[in-house]
């Protein structure tokens, strides 16, 4: 059903939790299935230094969020915003077609959090 990488990210989540000194935080929800993703980032000098997530949702939602945090840490904002849901899906070895919304939720959380980016140290 799920790729080895999806299962690995689901079972051994990377960067789960909350960043106490985050300056970009967003929580997004898929109204259809109720999946929820919270992303907190610490951004300095146009670079995402740290990323953490918490999620309530299906296996792909958790796996995509976990993978996204790996992809964006240490990345400048321009490159981070250029990440598409297909990149997350591909890097996980694919997800079921019916679960594409899970990758979109991660992208939405990233864009939403960067939209409300505040100055470092001023969440």
């Amino acid at each position: 059903m799920y790729s080895t990488l999806v299962m690995d990210h689901f079972t051994n989540t990377r960067n789960s939790g909350v960043l106490p000194d985050a300056n970009a935080v967003a929580r997004v929800e898929n109204p259809v299935c109720g999946d929820m993703l919270e992303l907190s980032l610490r951004v300095e000098d146009q670079t995402i230094l740290e990323a953490r997530f918490r999620a309530k949702g299906c296996v792909p939602t958790i796996a995509c969020a976990s993978r996204l945090t790996e992809m964006i840490q240490g990345t400048n904002l321009t490159d981070a915003l250029a990440i598409r849901r297909e990149s997350i899906i591909e890097s996980l070895g694919g997800i079921p077609e019916t679960s594409v919304h899970a990758a979109q939720l991660s992208i939405d959380a990233l864009h939403c959090s960067l939209n409300c980016l505040s100055a470092p140290g001023k969440p």
């Binding site: 299962m7 909350v18 929580r27 299935c33 999946d35 929820m36 309530k56 296996v59």
Partner: protein, 397 residues
């Protein structure tokens, strides 16, 4: 600990005794039950012995049992074999798709259908059945026990209403047969469907009880098999398997098997309620099949919990998994008034005849660990805990 299978409402394991009973009919005793020579008559005798066993399980006459391919065919047959354009059908919103989708198709062909609601416990109100009766009501079809929640419907009352109104009455007893004492005379039903693989017989075999005198047209038209009620050569090994499984189920019920199973389930629910806060057992206030426990866990997704338990070799089910390609929560739970969030957070545990205390203990420990892990990850659960410091109340719906 070997793998623990707690999805017996989906399908059950073929019992070894059932397999042994079937084995000769694949190879040595492979006759066609319609053939008049010895090999065929041997097959005929096996079919009729199985018919007796199934009839005994249901308290029916053997001549009233029609073998078929399973629950879906039985449900389809009961409706399509009786109902035609201009008729009215009464059913409920929580029926199996084998009923609901046939009704939807018939609506396009000039049949009117009333879909009765259920209450918060998942039960149909018999008075709603009475109120829905019309002059042209041809059939009432209400399931005996729900696959999702195990909630048992008040069929004796509904059967009485149907008899008084002189309306045909069908029940889908797929989830009840072999778990509850199902007696057609008590229910006063005219048609009743069962499925082999829900009671430790193989997949692909089932039976429809058809009360003598019910004017049912065959769904599958062919030869004169099953007294002209179902064409096609009989599935001999499957029928033998269903007969053996029915015989075992009859003994199991007489021997207090259902009570032992209910105790295992009830103990499981008690411990889960004690150990985990904010869980909700659906249909707890209604009579249920002894094997089913449908529980929602606030703050997490049932689909994720199912996969996490599967990683530990505990098989459970959820009707709302993205994994199934359907992001919609189970319609049965929504019909009971559950909010979508809670319905999405639901997992069904369904025990089997072979389920042991040791297996339930293992499933419990895995459940506690995985719920804790998913709740720790959940932003919803963390916020709830901040708002409700120290809350440990367990709520049962």
């Amino acid at each position: 600990m070997p793998s623990v299978y707690l999805d017996n409402n989906a399908t059950t394991q073929l019992l070894p005794e059932v397999f042994e009973a079937m084995r000769p009919y694949f190879v040595e005793k492979f006759g066609n039950a319609s053939s008049l020579y010895e090999r065929g008559q041997q097959a005929r005798a096996a079919v009729e012995a199985a018919r007796k066993a199934v009839a005994a399980l249901l308290g029916a006459d053997p001549a009233e049992i029609v073998f078929n391919s399973g629950g879906t065919e039985g449900d389809n047959q009961a409706i399509l074999g009786l109902v035609s354009a201009g008729d009215h059908v009464i059913t409920s919103v929580i029926e199996h798709p084998a009923i609901l989708n046939v009704c939807k198709r018939l609506e396009a062909d000039g049949v009117t259908v009333t879909y009765l609601p259920v209450d918060g416990q998942g039960q149909v109100n018999p008075e709603d059945v009475r109120a829905a009766l019309r002059k042209n009501t041809k059939l009432i079809s209400v399931m005996m026990a729900n696959n999702e929640t195990g909630v048992v419907q008040p069929l004796e009352e509904i059967g009485k209403i149907a008899a008084e109104a002189d309306v045909w009455f069908h029940t889908d007893a797929v989830q009840a047969a072999g778990k509850l004492a199902v007696k057609v005379a008590r229910i006063q039903c005219d048609l009743l469907s069962i499925s082999g693989h829900k009671l430790n017989a193989p997949q692909g075999i089932g039976a429809l009880y058809v009360r003598r005198g019910t004017p049912m047209q065959p769904l599958i038209v062919g030869g004169p098999q099953e007294h002209n009620r179902r064409g096609g050569t009989e599935n001999l090994p499957g029928i033998v398997g269903l007969g053996k499984a029915a015989e075992i189920a009859s003994h199991w019920l007489a021997d207090g098997g259902a009570e032992r199973m209910a105790k295992l389930r009830d103990d499981f629910e008690r411990v889960v309620s004690e150990q985990l806060e904010c869980i909700h057992i659906h249909g707890l206030g209604a009579p249920r099949t002894p094997n089913t426990s449908d529980i929602s866990f606030d703050g997490i997704s049932g689909g994720s919990l199912m996969v996490a338990l599967d990683q530990r070799e505990v098989s459970v089910s959820t009707g709302s998994a993205c994994a199934s390609g359907d992001n919609h929560p189970p319609y049965v739970l929504l019909a009971m008034g559950l909010k979508r969030d809670r319905a999405h957070a639901t997992v069904r545990f369904s025990l089997g005849k072979q389920t042991t205390q040791e297996e339930m203990d293992y499933a419990q420990s895995c459940l506690f660990a995985e719920v804790a892990k998913l709740r720790k990850l959940s932003p919803v659960w963390s916020n709830r805990n901040r708002k409700k410091k120290g809350s440990s109340a367990s709520v049962h719906d």
